[in-house]
Structure formats: structure tokens, C-alpha cells
Symmetry: C2
Subunit: 557 residues, 2 copies
């Protein structure tokens, strides 16, 4: 395929993505429903079979040099070891190969890079179902979430990063004739401008959203001319390996060096994070994971470009509601989805002592909480909806955390118990734990993140106090989302004012099929970058522009 | 003045600046010639008198709280102590006041902020001549450079930062109605987006270009909603104090809190840099100064936004020239201007053993160097042009550095000597020192920065070797500029390819009134941000977008 043909092939997609990014309106290049009508009637079954065929053997599809060692230790939270082995590429070799690939890549004009990247995404999209099963079995997500979060939603986030990169790279004229008037005459300088990547880039993945949280950094690196090393979490490699293999093969088919994106497989004993992040050739590090580790990374990597997506304390404030049933149903799903293993899951629920106004009289705090817990019980006990909504607990330590917080002695409003998974009797599961915490007195507890199915109900004198407390928590612990329910426009605006000024987004009156856990590509900035929950934002201009610089060539005469 | 009137008043200016930034074409909002025709026939004399009236007393013009202590230790490199004292504002007080001012400021719409900032610049421009004298007497620059570098050129860099900030803040729609199609129907979310500053910002100034190097960071902070602390170099406070006072008064006149920009005066004993940079409320640090200190700052401030403009090793490669006279004249001025005390001054001259092609036969390396040194002698010995071109040596340590490098034993091609300044018999002066260094063997010497009037002539087997060496130096030591002379288009393109890929700009065949030392606002990116000479670039998108984040407000129903 000629460059013109390739660029032409994907122009509409790139332009549509750029337009969506600019306007923040709805756009989705890939269909989020794992439907046979869209993806072919056998796509699901084919994907499952391909996934099963990969288990128990060395993964053969990567196109990268390796040192002959193979390893892999993935064990599914649904209760089976995957026994897939990945080839090991030494860091030194990976850096050399990636640098070579970058030399070629950074010379391509931006629109050619964009076309190559969209082509690679399209090729990889053929593996949506396989990637979905790989994601489900490694992360513990339910199937539909696995499909969406590692498929269409993640790929749209990647395309969003490409579009934002193109926007940034085309913000200024690439050439200029600069004519300065002087007393008598003038002087002319001809100028050309070149974007030079800062890389190598390195992306450090997490164990819960292996593609969704990594692809923005990977594609922000690539569109701006950087080659990229991708180090997945040692417990969740397969979905990443599938993506990287497809990516490398599509580059190879275009006659490009596939080492532009290198998988650094690792093991729990050799997680490689520091070696990769501190390597002198690595100038850009993207990290998703725990606040403590992410903050340490930011501190130790001073002088490098570091983007973190950590986590904070996400709070819900209930002031008044129009339809209490719709509200508790929406909240129940948010608290249950993937057992709270999302950086956007709610943790704290602030309820005013004065009660919650409804269209139909006031509910006492107890009544409101009771309604919510009933909705949660109904969801988790629903044999069809419960198990896929909760999924499985990715990491044993998350269960330990549930035990640990239970042991603190706060009144238990709702106990966390395993549920029986109809398909996977060995699955590690846990329903949400709800504890009652006292405002101020227990701030050290509800004021920090408890990753997993752990929630605190905090009663406050009134909803305005909750707003002040949440704004404070945003400043001290960060937040990726906050949620406010109120039928009073003045109260809503005051909450918006306080919480956004503190640096967190606000969701107002979420009911129906829109949950605070979800963040829409092209429209919602995921992570504001201005509170302790992380300095990255998918995908603002800072997220792409920090990855390259512009050098000029000035010529007289 | 109403907000509408103010915004309207400066709309043309802001739009012209945005257009120039986009097109990289020539633009200057302020006239660079210190001419009575432009600025009024008495402007120079008035400015001088106002400057002299400030000497020997407390500086009374700032509108900021202070603790009652006054101090100041500026001694002019031209040989007189200024004896100006500045009020001390404690860091804690400064932070509190600036935070308060920021709360008000960050709520203003971006176009209002832009109008306020242009208004403040216009008001401060009334002090161009006073600021020029203050700059001259503190930095040792000649008068015309002082006028331009702290006046029109610096102010245009400030306006450039404002324009780039507006561009960035308006890149995405501020509101959206997001409608997602669902199987049967659709769901709509109304969204608003708010830019939230990361600040406080802090700008750490240098002793040679107190405004030119600081205003981009100050105005990039301000336009993106951050309040700013400005800590000048303890030896060069007066031009900064004059600017800040004008700025604060223009804010006050508009009914805004003048603590949006706070001067942190300091002394050589209490330089304050670390206290300010490491203060927890300071999230953005802009630094101009030495590579070693700047690198340490980058490292220790991991987790903050840090922009550095350090220095590197700027090299000139002479392959072939059309008009040797024009070339050596241009180079002579570049080597002499402000005695090499510019981060854009050339340090290394690479000349091929095979000689330099000219329109009129080949010159041996000796002959070419001889021609250059003759041009330098002619310039420095010219009683009219020499003293204002060289200016004075800002810091005694720069003279020590000249002695130190002389003592290394390299052959001296041109000795550094003081010159007699006609106006200032006590001026600290030094003409350029030229040493002969051997390629490779002396790389440790010419491969690092020697700030001041110090140059190395390095003979290389051929010009292609020089290109490889310069690209290597860019990677190891950084560079703000490189300069290539060649009449061979193929050689030029190869040089451009190698050096830009290494991360430095290239100037080709500079002759006439265009010098590599100068970087034009709106068109030249000053600092590429991709080599060790610094990570800041005046003014690319990264330089403004890192200073704010975007939070969204999503509303259902």
C-alpha cells in the first residue's frame, strides 16, 4: 500500500476523531456492543476458541527479538492458571531496538504516522473477542466490561490520543518566511520547524485495566514520534501481548520496524518497573497504579516526563433527589461494578443528618442508606446480573484489604461476602462492604483510598458541609470523580464551584445508563491532572505536548 | 473600565499575537528601537532621571504586604553600588496572599485574563527606558540591548505566552451536549469544562536577562490562571521590581488583587531559591540559570511542573562561505555581544583541516580564524561600537572562569583583556578569549559550557566530522543554537538532518543583521526542550498546557 493510499484510507477516521476531540461531542469509532450483528455471528466463539488455544503454551505471535528465556505466571481470578509463557526481551536489547525503530519513525510526517496507527488499531480490532477473553480471565472483569474496556473503549482512547497529537503537532505552521522591517529595508529569514520526540517512552501497566489505561500513553508516545516500551503488570500480560503482536505485525506488513512498540514481559519476582523507568534512554514514563507507588515514581523521576494515573477518594454527596429509586439503582451499580476495582469507583457516600429530600417527602439518612443497600442486595443476588457485574477480585491483597478494614471496628452496614459464580466455582469474589464512619473523627479512614469493594457512609450535619469536606478530600487525597445529587440548582452550582476549584470533576444527578465509573473517549477528560489522584489527563494537550519539542531551522539568503 | 471595554480594547492585539504564533511570521507589538520618534523625545532622559531618582533609597512602588525589613545589595558591573532597598515579603505571607489573589483570578474567563495582562504590559511599557537603565546597570548589558531585551523583546515574549495560552485554553469546546445512541433510544449528558490552574507558580530569575527570561514563565502562569511568585537574582532586582510594581498598580486600578504577582526580594546570603521551589503550595517552577543547578532542581522537584532554561554548548560549523567578510563580521558580533553572557552565544568554532571554501578560493583554517579574530579586534577596538557591544561582566566569577580556562594550557589564539569604557572607568570588562582545542582529545573542555567570553576553535578533519561531533555534543551537553555555514545545499541538509534529530535548532548562513544570539518572539522557539540545555521552550504548547488541567461537569437530565 502506498503512503498516499494509506493516509487516504484513514483520513475520514482521523478527521472525525479530531472534530470530536475539539467539540467534545459523542463519537465512537468502534461499536461497544459485543454483538454478532456487528462483529460477525461467529466472532465471539472464534475469539473464545483462539483464546483457549493460547493457554498452556509459549505465546508465539510477537515480532521482537528475545533472549531465549520464556516465562509467565498469570493465574486467573476466576480460578485457573493460564500457563502462557512470553519471550523475554532484555531491557538493553529492547532499548537499542526501539531506538533504531524510532529513528525511522520520527522522520515520517505526522499524517503518515496517524494513518499507520489507525491501520494498526484496525488490525488489532480483529482480535477484540480474544483480547476480551484474555482480559476477563486475567483481570477478573465480567465479559462485557472486558470486551468494552479492552476493546472499543480502549481503542477509542488510543484514537483520541492520536487525534489530540495531530492537533498539537499541527497547531503551528511548519514553515514560515519571516520578514522583519528595518529602518530602510527589511531582512528575511526562511524557517522550517520540526517536531522532535523526547523518547523513548515507557508505559507501566496495571493489573485491572491493561489496555484502557495503557493505550493512551502508548499512542500519545507514538503519534509524537517516540518509540515505546510497554511493561504490563506481571499478572496481566496476555491482553497486552495480543495487542502488541497485532501492532507489530501491522507495522511489519507496512515495511516498518516492528520494534516501535516492544513488550517487556516480567514476573512477580522481577517486576522491572524501576529498571525501565530509570533507564537513561527512557525520557517519558506513563504509570497507572497505586497512589503511593505513583507518587514515589514522580519524585524519583524528576527531570523526566512522568504521567501518572493513580487513584484518589471518590465521593458521592446526596442532597436531594427527584426519583430515589433511579438514584439508588444507579449508585448500586456504581458501587458494585467490577467490585470497586476501578479508579473511578465511588468510595464515600455523604448523607446529611437532616435527611434527603425526595419528590415525595424526606428520607432520613437511615432510610436512604437502607434503600441503597437494598438495591445493592438486589443486584448482587440477581443470578444473571450479579456475577458479571461484580466480576472477580484480581488480587488476593484486595480481599485482605476488605478483612483489614472490617477489623477496624466501624459499624458494619453491609457485610462483604463471596458470591457463587455459576460458571467459575473457584472465582475469588466479594460483594461491597459498607461501613459507617463518623464525620471528622474517622477522616483518616475515609480520607484515603481503599481499593476494592469497600465503602464508607459518612453522615454530615448538612449537604453544604459535605461539599466542603469533599473539596478538602480532593485537595488532600485527590479524586477522579465526584458525584452530587441535588434538585436544587443553587446547591448544585455551589457544589460545582467548590469541587471543581479544588480540581475534581463533578457528575450531577446521574441516573439511567450513565455511571460515574465510566469516562467517554473524545469528551470526558479522564483524570484532571490537578489533584493528587494523578497528573495525567486522557487526553488533554499537556498529555501529548510534553512528549516532543520543536526545533527550527533558520536560513538567511 | 468595564470588562467589555477592556477586552475590546486589547482584542486586536491578542488576535494579532495569536495569528503570529500560529503562522510563525514576523510580529512585534512594541517597537524595538529606543527612539524619541517612537517613545517621545524626552522618554530617554525622563527614564534616566527616574532611574537615578530610585538609587540610594528604599523602593517605594510595590503594592504588596511586607514584614518591615528592607534590604538590597545590587552593585553595578559598571562600577557603582545601587543602594536600592526592597521590602521583604515573607514566603508564607507571599503564598497566602498569592493564593487569595489566585482564587479571584482563576474565575475570570480567559479573554478577560488576556485583556488584563495586555493592559498591564502596556502600563509597564511606559517604564521601558527606566527598566532599560535598571537592566543596564545591574546586568552590565549595553544600553540598546538593555532596552530591547528587557523592553520590547521581553514584552513581546510575554504577549506570545499570553497568546499561546489563549490558543491552548480555547483548543476544546467549553461546553457540549453529548448524546449517545443506545439500542432503542439515546442518552444525553450536558457537559461543561473548566480549566483549573495547578499553581502557585514560581519563577526563579537569572542575573543576565532579568525580564526576557522570566516574563514567559510569569505570563504563561498568569494566563492559565495561576498566581505567581517571582524571585529575581539577588544581584539584579531593580528591573524586576519596576515591572512588578507597574503590574501590581495596573491590577489595582482594575480592582483586582495585586498579589497575583509577588516579588520575593532576596539577598546573596538568603537566595531563597530552594525555599520557594520546594514550598508545598508551589506546583510550577520556572528556572533560568546554570546547567548544574537547573538539573539538580529538575531532579529534586520530581512531582512538580518544572521548566528549565539552562545552557548548553553552542557550536558553529564552517564548511564553505559565499562572502567570507560578511560571515566573519556576523560571527564577530555573535562572539562579542554582551561578552558571551547569553545562553545563545557561540562557544565552539569547528573549522575543517581541509579549509573553508569561499567564492574566491579556499582559506586554510589558520587563515579563516585569522579573519575572524581580525573582525573581533576591529569590533572591540572600535571606540564607539566596542564598549556597548561587549557591555560589562555581570559576575566576578565569570572573569575568574576566563582565568581558569586560560590556565589550562591550551594555545591562546586571542587573549582576553579588559577594555576601557569611556563612560565607566570602573566597569568590569573582558574581550573574548579564543583557545585552540584538539578535536576529541580536548572534548572534556570544549564539550561543556564555559559561560562568558570564552571560545574554542576546534579543527576537524572535515566538515562532516564536525556535524557528527556537534550532534553528539547536543545530545551530551545540550545546545540552544547551532550555526552552519555552507554554500553546498546537500551538506546543509545533511547537517540539518543530523543536528535537528539530536534536538537542536540550526541557523544556516547567518550574515547581516540576524545573529544566532537572538531569538524572535512569536516565530523562533527559544529552547527546544529536547536536549540537556533545558526542558522549556518559549513558547510551545507544552510550556502553557502543563500549567493547568481541565475538569468537567457532567449533568444528566
Amino acid at each position: 500500500m502506498s503512503w498516499e493510499t494509506l493516509v487516504e484510507k484513514h483520513t475520514v477516521t482521523v478527521q472525525a476523531a479530531i472534530e470530536a476531540v475539539r467539540s467534545r461531542s459523542f463519537f465512537a469509532h468502534w461499536v461497544e456492543v459485543p454483538s454478532g450483528k456487528v462483529y460477525g455471528e461467529t466472532a465471539n466463539e472464534d475469539g473464545r476458541r483462539r483464546f483457549e488455544g493460547l493457554l498452556g503454551k509459549p505465546f508465539p505471535e510477537l515480532l521482537q527479538v528475545h533472549d531465549g528465556f520464556w516465562g509467565g505466571h498469570e493465574v486467573s481470578p476466576y480460578g485457573l492458571p493460564l500457563k502462557v509463557e512470553y519471550p523475554r526481551t532484555g531491557l538493553r536489547e529492547a532499548v537499542e531496538q526501539a531506538q533504531r525503530a524510532q529513528q525511522q519513525w520520527q522522520r515520517l510526517p505526522v499524517r503518515q504516522r496517524a494513518a499507520v496507527l489507525v491501520e494498526a488499531l484496525e488490525q488489532a480490532a480483529a482480535d477484540f473477542f480474544t483480547i476480551a477473553y484474555a482480559t476477563m480471565y486475567t483481570t477478573g472483569q465480567g465479559f462485557v466490561m472486558s470486551f468494552q474496556a479492552s476493546g472499543p473503549h480502549a481503542f477509542d482512547r488510543a484514537l483520541e490520543a492520536v487525534a489530540t497529537g495531530v492537533l498539537a503537532l499541527e497547531a503551528f505552521a511548519p514553515e514560515a518566511v519571516w520578514t522583519k522591517p528595518l529602518g530602510k529595508g527589511e531582512v528575511t529569514v526562511r524557517k522550517r520547524f520540526r517536531a522532535i520526540p523526547k523518547g523513548l517512552g515507557a508505559v507501566i501497566g496495571c493489573s485491572t485495566f491493561p489496555l484502557w489505561n495503557a493505550l493512551p500513553g502508548v499512542f500519545a508516545n507514538l503519534i509524537t514520534g517516540n518509540a515505546c516500551l510497554w511493561k504490563p503488570h506481571p499478572a496481566v500480560i496476555l491482553p497486552v501481548a495480543l495487542f502488541v503482536a497485532r501492532f507489530q505485525r501491522s507495522l511489519d506488513a507496512l515495511g516498518l520496524n516492528p520494534h516501535l512498540l516492544v513488550l517487556l514481559s516480567c514476573t512477580p519476582e522481577q517486576p522491572l518497573t524501576w529498571e525501565v523507568a530509570e533507564h537513561s534512554a527512557v525520557r517519558i514514563v506513563d504509570y497507572t497504579g497505586s497512589p503511593a507507588f505513583g507518587t514515589e515514581l514522580e519524585r524519583r523521576l524528576g527531570g523526566k516526563v512522568v504521567f501518572t494515573e493513580k487513584a484518589g477518594v471518590n465521593s458521592v454527596i446526596v442532597h436531594s433527589v427527584a426519583d430515589v429509586g433511579a438514584v439508588v439503582e444507579n449508585l448500586a451499580f456504581s458501587f458494585c461494578l467490577y467490585s470497586g476495582q476501578m479508579c473511578t469507583a465511588p468510595q464515600n457516600l455523604f448523607v446529611p443528618e437532616e435527611g434527603v429530600g425526595t419528590g415525595n417527602g424526606r428520607l432520613t439518612p437511615e432510610e436512604f442508606v437502607q434503600r441503597l443497600l437494598q438495591a445493592i442486595d438486589a443486584l448482587v443476588q440477581n443470578p444473571k446480573a450479579g456475577p458479571p457485574t461484580l466480576g472477580a477480585i484480581q488480587n488476593e491483597r484486595t480481599l485482605q484489604r476488605v478483612r483489614e478494614v472490617e477489623a477496624l471496628g466501624l459499624p458494619v452496614l453491609r457485610a462483604s461476602t463471596p458470591i457463587q459464580h455459576p460458571e467459575f466455582p473457584e472465582a475469588r469474589t466479594a460483594t461491597p462492604l459498607f461501613l459507617e464512619a463518623r464525620w471528622k473523627e474517622h477522616r483518616e479512614l475515609y480520607g484515603r483510598e481503599w481499593f476494592g469493594p469497600i465503602a464508607f457512609v459518612v453522615r454530615v450535619p448538612d449537604a453544604a458541609t459535605a461539599v466542603a469536606e469533599v473539596a478538602d478530600l480532593v485537595r488532600s487525597a485527590g479524586a477522579l470523580v465526584t458525584s452530587v445529587y441535588s434538585t436544587d440548582p443553587a446547591f448544585r452550582e455551589q457544589a460545582v464551584e467548590s469541587i471543581t476549584a479544588a480540581g475534581a470533576p463533578v457528575a450531577l444527578n446521574f441516573t439511567g445508563p450513565i455511571w460515574i465509573n465510566q469516562s467517554a473517549a473524545y469528551s470526558d477528560f479522564h483524570g484532571a491532572g490537578v489533584n493528587p489522584a494523578g497528573n495525567a489527563s486522557f487526553t488533554d494537550l499537556a498529555y501529548v505536548t510534553a512528549r516532543f519539542g520543536i526545533v527550527h531551522v533558520r536560513e538567511v539568503g
